[in-house]
């Protein structure tokens, strides 16, 4: 039973979520990119793009299909401050899973930034119809510019979340600390990042082709909670496996290969083995069949309904070595907790 405050919050969010932009008369849509003050009344729309509100953004996130891009500026520490003045930037909150590319919403981009913007977004898309959502702050032209630029670059499905991070939090949306990426990102120390934060996305060494990766379905170990939880867990594993694939595709570190061509082998192995993440390298056979460079296996160890651990391993098909492995503790055997754990893990991988 939700608490009264919770109900009030939920109610408030339903009303608040419908509001886009907030106060101030809407500006006319300029023909080119906006070159004026960033904080000024924005137009009510963008030709070729869809304007979405917090509800619609949440729905896109829940389906795990959108690439969300924050183009807010990142603070850059000046060489000197007033005597006794501290430099203490707060963590920059972003919509969970969002890429934060400061500088991408400027009126004019450097060739570096322009190239980064296109390639990074291209790498993040699952397919040509993946929605790209741009936002910054309320009354902020940077996201308008960035969305317009994405349209000009030929991206098909561009959404503008005009209410910005303030609109998102007012609607009760969760945030995570973001780390800036791209040529407009100040150094990490400058941005006030703590060392344990992962940047919200970094491409592997430029130039070389991305290795291909097969991602096997998530598996559940530990205390499964009994037959009452079977259906719930099966559904959650399927849903979160899809999320993991979408997140990884968006992260752009690997070329994600489809598992379908090896589905028969996967089914056979599943019937023979308790877990594919722990089967003497049987997963590498799947990788070989799919002609993938690496295979990712990930599993959740459920200590209880409250305490869970998500672990991944990436296996190199040729060398049969574990090329990466890491575990993440999380709380709560619920969709949203799993969502966050998966998103966090992929962000951490991008570091």
């Amino acid at each position: 039973m939700p608490s009264p405050t919770l109900r009030a919050l939920a109610l408030r969010c339903v009303f608040a979520a419908g509001v886009i932009g907030g106060s101030g008369a809407a500006a006319r849509e300029p023909d080119g990119f906006w070159l004026g003050d960033v904080n000024a009344p924005v137009p009510s729309g963008l030709r070729g793009a869809r304007v979405i509100d917090a509800n619609a953004l949440q729905s896109l996130l829940a389906r795990g299909v959108a690439v969300v891009v924050d183009v807010s500026d990142a603070p850059r520490p000046p060489a000197e401050l007033a005597p006794g003045a501290p430099w203490l930037p707060l963590p920059h909150p972003v919509v969970p899973g969002a890429l934060w590319i400061p500088g991408a919403g400027a009126g004019v981009l450097s060739p570096d930034m322009d190239a980064f913007f296109r390639t990074r977004l291209q790498a993040a898309l699952v397919n040509a119809d993946t929605p790209l959502v741009f936002y910054c702050h309320e009354h902020c032209w940077l996201s308008w510019n960035a969305a317009k630029r994405a349209l000009a670059a030929g991206f098909r499905h561009v959404d503008w979340f005009a209410a910005g991070i303030e609109g998102w939090t007012a609607a009760g949306g969760p945030t995570v600390p973001g780390l800036p990426i791209g040529p407009g990102a100040p150094s990490r120390a400058a941005a006030g990042a703590s060392p344990d934060q992962a940047p919200t996305g970094v491409l592997p060494a430029a130039g070389g082709p991305r290795p291909s990766l097969a991602i096997l379905d998530l598996e559940l170990t530990g205390d499964l909670g009994g037959p009452a939880f079977e259906a719930e867990h099966a559904a959650r594993l399927a849903k979160e496996s899809a999320r993991l694939r979408a997140d990884m595709a968006r992260a752009g570190l690997y070329r994600i290969v489809a598992n379908a061509p090896a589905q028969a082998s996967i089914d056979t192995l599943k019937s023979e083995q308790a877990y594919l993440h722990d089967c003497n390298g049987c997963d590498l056979d799947v990788g070989r069949e799919l002609d993938a460079d690496r295979v990712m296996v990930a599993w959740v160890n459920r200590v209880s309904g409250l305490i869970l651990t998500l672990t991944y391993e990436i296996h190199d098909v040729k060398t049969r070595q574990i090329s990466a492995r890491k575990s993440f503790d999380f709380r709560g055997d619920s969709d949203i907790a799993w969502d966050h754990a998966i998103d966090y893990m992929v962000r951490d991988l991008q570091e």
Partner: protein, 278 residues
């Protein structure tokens, strides 16, 4: 009918989302947000004032700013001090800005430190604190919450040349009749871009290094009215209103120094000549 059903469904989705999120991840409630703001203020007090005690100054200090500012790069802040306690200085702190200490004013013998107005950049919803330092060295604070965000962003297509035009041009407007020994109000306007390091040069595509006003001195015939140590939270083309007391006819002398160590100075007759000065 269909619309109603749609709306109801949305409400349900969103509410279940929030309920789920709270159970698993506790997104900040109003209380949690307020607690985070209190913690931030404690951290800033520690960073700026060390172990010194900061008292509640709401009995005799006032701070005013729009609750919601559309242009976060130009948020007007107005401070009033009742005058019952002599003060020597004033700190203006924008809690959630990356460089929170926006300015430190020191008042001199020619100051009338009962009112002060300036415009600042606000990067995120924040408390703005004014902390007065009395002549006996005690600190008193008053705060105001401002909903403005993104004000530290540079214009999307900053025209550097235009911004640098008339650099260092200073104007002073005085209000009220001149009576020797009685307080007067002056509005100081300085042409300076106060680059905060986020501006990108359209020609070179490089970020322009921060270039901002580091200090402002205002004297009356060589005796201090005020001294300000400022930083990037001061808006571009700063406008500062303050009170001063001229014991007789003389000159208000303004000296501005920026981070390139360029100095800009100008003097203004008090009382102002009949024709508008500058």
């Amino acid at each position: 009918m269909g619309l109603n059903r749609g709306l109801a469904a949305w409400g349900l989705v969103l509410c279940s989302w929030i309920a789920g999120a709270r159970a698993a991840d506790e997104p900040p409630s109003a209380d949690a947000e307020e607690a985070a703001r209190t913690a931030r203020w404690s951290e800033l007090q520690q960073a700026i004032f060390g172990a010194r005690v900061v008292h509640d100054g709401s009995a005799w200090l006032g701070i005013d700013a729009p609750q919601r500012a559309l242009d976060a790069a130009l948020v007007p802040v107005s401070l009033t001090m009742s005058g019952e306690r002599p003060i020597q200085g004033l700190y203006l702190i924008i809690d959630n800005n990356p460089g929170p200490l926006a300015g430190h004013f020191l008042f001199g013998p020619r100051a009338d430190p009962r009112s002060l107005k300036l415009r600042v950049r606000v990067n995120a919803y924040t408390y703005i604190h004014a902390v007065a330092e009395t002549s006996d060295g005690e600190l008193y604070a008053v705060a105001r919450f401002v909903k403005a965000a993104g004000g530290c962003s540079a214009p999307a297509g900053a025209d550097q040349q235009l911004a640098m035009q008339d650099l260092g041009h200073i104007k002073v407007r005085m209000t009220g009749p001149f009576v020797a020994g009685r307080p007067m109000e002056a509005q100081l306007m300085i042409r300076h871009p106060n680059f905060n390091g986020m501006q990108m040069d359209q020609m070179t595509h490089l970020y322009t290094p921060a270039l901002f006003i580091r200090s402002i001195d205002v004297n009356f015939d060589g005796t201090r009215v005020l001294h300000l140590d400022s930083d990037i939270s001061l808006s571009s083309d700063p406008v500062i209103s303050f009170g001063f007391i001229a014991p007789g006819k003389g000159q208000l002398q303004v000296l501005v120094r920026d981070t390139q160590d360029d100095t800009f100075g100008q003097s203004f007759d008090v009382p102002a000549p009949a024709a508008p000065a500058g």
